[in-house]
Each structure stands twice: as structure tokens, then as C-alpha cells.
């Protein structure tokens, strides 16, 4: 898991020019030495019911039941003019995020999902979705979904929430 987080951090760092900032983020939030990072083996997957009946909205990215949203917390960008991993016009993807693991309903794979806030517009206020699979208290900030995850964005003003696949859990 630490490797995945590291990859993610790297991937994010490649996408942004704020490298020095992110190096710091990495050290502070993600790196922190000997601390076990994710209680990953106890993550309850959204689609444990995959073999049986699937929730109605599991393939609908405007539904809180959408498979990628297993640990999303906020107003869904898909209801605000954005996509499941696209910010609405006028909002900027945060270079930082908390992470979760969601099982795809059909391929059965566990995907690492980065929950990146879109920042720089007033709160969207539509489709509030608060799911808590794998979500941890504030002292494990990188897994806390209640934080405004706009660190490194031009502003800390929260607009809406996305879910971006960053890889498959190995």
C-alpha cells in the first residue's frame, strides 16, 4: 500500500508544477516513516454484493451509489457541471487528495481511488454524498474525508468532490 500511495504522490507531482510544495506534502502527510498507512485489508468494498444484487446507482456517476464513490464525502461534481473525475467549469482540481479503495462491480478488481476536491468556486450544494469506507479520523489526515482537500490549489474554497482512479490495488 505504501508503494501505491507513493506512486500516487509521484503521479500527482508529475501533473503539477508545484513540486516543492508536493514534496513537502508527501513528507508530511504521506511519507511519515514507520506509520502504517491504510487499514486496507479491512476496507469494506462498495461491491461486496457484486455476486448478488448490485445497488441501483452503481454504474451511474451522478448517484451516491456509484462504485467509485465508496469513500467520497461532499457534493458530487457530476451534479455541478463536472464529471466523476472532472471539475466543473471555473473550478480547479486539487493536486492533493485523500484516497480510498473501491471494488469495481463487474471486474472484481480493487481500484485505488483518489478523492480530489474541485476548488475555487463557492460550494455547489447539490448531490451530497457521504460514504465512509476506509475513512479515518483527522490524525490520519490522508484518509480523512472531512478535510477541505484543496491543499496546493490556488484557493481553499471547496466546490465539489470527484473520484479519480489512480491504479489497481496490487
Amino acid at each position: 500500500m505504501d508503494k501505491i500511495v507513493e506512486q500516487m504522490t509521484r503521479a500527482i507531482a508529475q501533473r503539477t508544477s508545484r513540486r516543492s510544495f508536493l514534496a513537502r506534502v508527501g513528507k508530511v502527510i504521506l511519507g511519515a516513516a514507520a506509520i502504517p498507512l491504510l487499514p486496507i485489508d479491512r476496507v469494506v468494498r462498495a461491491a461486496d454484493a457484486a455476486a448478488g444484487k448490485l445497488p441501483k446507482g452503481i454504474e451511474d456517476d451522478t448517484s451516491c451509489d456509484y462504485w467509485k464513490y465508496c469513500a467520497v464525502d461532499g457534493y458530487l461534481c457530476t451534479c455541478c457541471g463536472g464529471g466523476s473525475h472532472d471539475c466543473p467549469p471555473g473550478a480547479t482540481p486539487s493536486p492533493t487528495s485523500w484516497v480510498g479503495t473501491c471494488r469495481h462491480p463487474s471486474d472484481g478488481r480493487d481500484y485505488i481511488v483518489s478523492y480530489r476536491d474541485c476548488c475555487g468556486q463557492a460550494s455547489c450544494g447539490r448531490c451530497l454524498c457521504a460514504r465512509t469506507e476506509g475513512e479515518m479520523p483527522l490524525y490520519r489526515a490522508q484518509l480523512d474525508s472531512d478535510l477541505i482537500w484543496c491543499f496546493g490549489a490556488p484557493t481553499m474554497m471547496y466546490h465539489c468532490s470527484t473520484a479519480e482512479i489512480v491504479g489497481v490495488k496490487s
Binding site: A11, R15, E59, D60, D61, T78, C79, C80, G81, G82, G83, S84, H85, D86, C87, P88, P89, G90, A91, T92, P93, H104, P105, S106, D107, G108, R109, Y111, R116, C118, Q121, A122, S123, C124, G125, R126, C127, H159, T162, E164, I165, V166, G167, V168
Partner: protein, 386 residues
């Protein structure tokens, strides 16, 4: 890849997966971006959410009424107004901000946004005098050529602030004693409605300064049959409905406004049934079909803000009611669109302004049938069209 296409891909993938659950490649990593808007479409509307209960955080939802989908948002401030550039290249939010949210120094600005990316691109500071009211249409407006934005002030002395959109500069303030709002009636002309039932017409020069003012004869008697202050405007023609159910047409094209003889929207039987207009934005015109729409309810005197249960449709040429559309949910504001077909859009604040559960309902104007709705629009009061 648009959201829609991507959803389709996922759906197709999912269908394939059901057949062969482990055969396919894993989903690739997503690439996160910010979306941009297409050109403003004829079926778009702009829904102003007053932001109750806070009132200090207005927003405008940009809505595609064809898909009943929110396309984006323009963020505002304390009881903001919205203005759309006639050429659709910019959106404006006319805002009041306090430096510490609810306290501190007041600053009034026209905030400018790129209409594609919705990026904030600048602001023009105006005198901190703008009319602060539960948002109404025409408290801020723009000349048809897009040169000047007109912002209504009240201190409570009334005036209009003029902003040059090209120069992005405040041009000056025009006093309009006893008269309010700014109905744009020409590239260098706007009108305000006055306490005695008359209309003040103000002519502007090319720099946006007042060069002439004319007060019309009263076109209605505010003591007997007050008109609502949010008329339907088509070009330089204004359609005012009144508390007692009359329709006052006013020609704003000339240097002096000219009111026509009013006509009644209600029959003797309607009157007996206590039918009358009411709500917030109570009247609309759909020019292509030549129809006038009025939001109606049954109520006694002083029920002018009661939610409407029906929208009555009038043939403007014949001055005759041609249809009654029963609303699924009681409405507060109405608007007409005509992208592929004439449509009625109805805003509903539901049970309470405090709950932020306002919604939009769409009806086919030809058949009167309910088409669909869009909910979670906060406390929406006003609809603007492109």
C-alpha cells in the same frame, strides 16, 4: 471525452464484463481536468439561488433545460444579481461583499467571468449603494449592445450605476428620484418604474452618462391596481401583470414610454373563483409562439406572493386565454424557453425558503404536459434567459 461518452464507455464495458468477468483489461487511470462550457444554447437558463438562509452566498446555476442538467455555476455574494453579455462571451455577477463575510467593509463590484471556462477575469468596483433586496430581475441589466451594465442603487435614494464593460470601468451614477430598476430599452437608453405609476426614460451618451430624462404619464394607478415590478421584457416592449389580474403593455422604444390600454387576464367567473396572479417572477412571454404566461392562484386581497397552482397561457395578438397548465408543484417564478419547442420553466421553493430544496419543473407549452424536473437548486428566485 465528455462525461456522457465516458459513462457510455463504462456502461459498455460493464455489459462486456458481465459476460466475461475477468477477461478484460483493468480500467486505466483517470485524467483529471476542468471542463469548459459549450456556446450558450437557446434552451439554457440561469437560475439565481439567493442562498437562503445565509443570503450572503448567492449562486447562479447554469441549466440546460433540454437535459434538465446543471452545467456549471457562477458564484456570487450578498443578494447578488446576474447579467449575461448579449454576445454570450461573458457572465457578470453584481455583488456586495463585506471584507469579513458578514462584517467589515462593504464593497460592491461587478464580477466578470469568462463564459466558457467560468474563470473570474476581473471586477469593476461600483459605489457601495446597490439595491439589497431578495433578488429581482432588472435590478441589474445590460444594454442590448453589451456596452453598459446598469445597476440599481438604493440608499434609500434611488439611482443607477453605469459600468462600461469594454473599458471595465465605472462610468458614473444617474439619479432616478422616486423610480427604481433598470429596464434596458435601447443601446443608449433604459427605463425605471416610478412610485406614481409613470416610467422614467433615461437616454445615455456614448460614454454612458445621462443626456436626457423623460417621465411618462402614469400607465397604471399604484393605489388601485399595482403592477408587479418584474415585467416580461421582449425587445423594448414590457408586459406588466397586476395584483388584480390586468395586463399593462408598455412601449419603451421611444424617448417617452407609452402605456397601452390594459386588458384583463381574468373573466368574471375567474374573479368569482378568486383567481389572480401571484408569486415572484409571475409573468413571461414566449415571442416565437406569441404567447404570454401568467402564474395564477386562488386567493383574496394581498395574496400577491402566494405560490401559483396554474400557469395561464394567452394569445398575445388575440388577448385571449388559450390554455391553463396545472402545475404539479406550486410555483413561484416562471420563464419560457424555445430551443426545439416552446417550454415553460417553473421555479418552486417548496415548503420553505430555509430548506434549500428549491427545484425547477419543465412543461411542454404546446401540450401543457409535465416533462421533468431538476431539484436541489437551493432557494431559487429568478430565472434569466440567454
Amino acid at each position: 471525452m465528455s462525461t456522457r461518452v465516458r459513462s457510455l464507455v463504462l456502461l459498455v464495458a460493464a455489459i462486456l464484463l458481465v459476460a466475461a468477468p475477468r477477461a478484460q483489461a483493468q480500467l486505466p487511470p483517470d485524467q483529471m481536468t476542468s471542463l469548459a462550457l459549450p456556446e450558450v444554447g437557446p434552451g439554457w437558463i440561469f437560475v439565481l439561488d439567493a442562498g437562503f438562509p445565509s443570503t450572503a452566498a448567492a449562486r447562479v446555476y447554469i441549466v440546460d433545460t433540454g437535459r434538465l442538467k446543471v452545467l456549471g455555476q457562477v458564484s456570487g455574494g450578498y443578494l447578488s444579481n446576474f447579467v449575461l453579455a448579449p454576445d454570450h462571451h461573458e457572465f457578470y455577477s453584481v455583488d456586495t461583499f463585506y471584507s469579513r463575510g458578514w462584517r467589515g467593509t462593504r464593497t460592491d463590484v461587478v464580477s466578470i467571468f469568462d463564459a466558457k471556462k467560468l474563470n473570474f477575469s476581473g471586477e469593476v468596483e461600483i459605489p457601495p449603494k446597490r439595491l439589497l433586496i431578495v433578488p429581482k430581475r432588472d435590478s441589474a441589466s445590460i444594454t442590448p449592445d453589451g456596452e453598459f451594465i446598469l445597476v440599481a442603487n438604493m440608499t434609500p435614494a434611488t439611482s443607477i450605476s453605469v459600468v462600461d464593460t469594454k473599458a471595465r470601468k465605472f462610468v458614473g451614477e444617474i439619479e432616478t428620484p422616486g423610480c427604481v430598476q433598470a429596464f434596458p430599452s435601447g443601446n443608449r437608453q433604459f427605463d425605471s418604474i416610478c412610485a406614481d405609476g409613470s416610467i422614467l426614460t433615461v437616454q445615455l451618451d456614448d460614454s454612458g452618462k445621462a443626456k436626457g430624462k423623460t417621465t411618462s404619464k402614469p400607465f397604471f394607478d399604484p393605489g388601485k391596481d399595482p403592477v408587479f415590478d418584474q415585467p416580461a421584457l421582449v425587445g423594448s416592449r414590457a408586459y406588466f401583470d397586476s395584483y388584480y389580474g390586468n395586463l399593462y403593455e408598455v412601449d419603451l422604444s421611444g424617448a417617452e414610454a407609452k402605456g397601452a390600454q390594459p386588458w384583463s387576464l381574468i373573466t368574471a367567473a375567474d374573479k368569482a373563483g378568486k383567481w389572480r396572479p401571484g408569486g415572484w417572477q409571475t409573468v413571461a412571454v414566449e415571442p416565437k409562439s406569441g404567447v404570454l404566461l401568467v402564474l395564477m392562484h386562488q386567493g383574496g386581497d394581498w395574496t400577491h406572493k402566494q405560490f401559483g397552482t396554474e400557469v395561464w397561457v394567452y394569445d398575445l395578438a388575440q388577448r385571449q386565454r388559450v390554455k391553463r397548465i396545472k402545475l404539479k408543484t406550486q410555483g413561484y417564478s416562471i420563464f419560457a424557453t424555445n430551443a426545439d419547442k416552446p417550454m415553460l420553466e417553473v421555479l418552486d421553493l417548496q415548503t420553505s425558503m430555509q430548506e434549500g430544496t428549491g427545484q425547477l419543473e419543465a412543461y411542454n407549452l404546446t401540450t401543457g404536459k409535465f416533462v421533468g424536473k431538476l431539484d436541489e437548486l437551493g432557494s431559487p428566485f429568478v430565472i434569466y434567459g440567454p
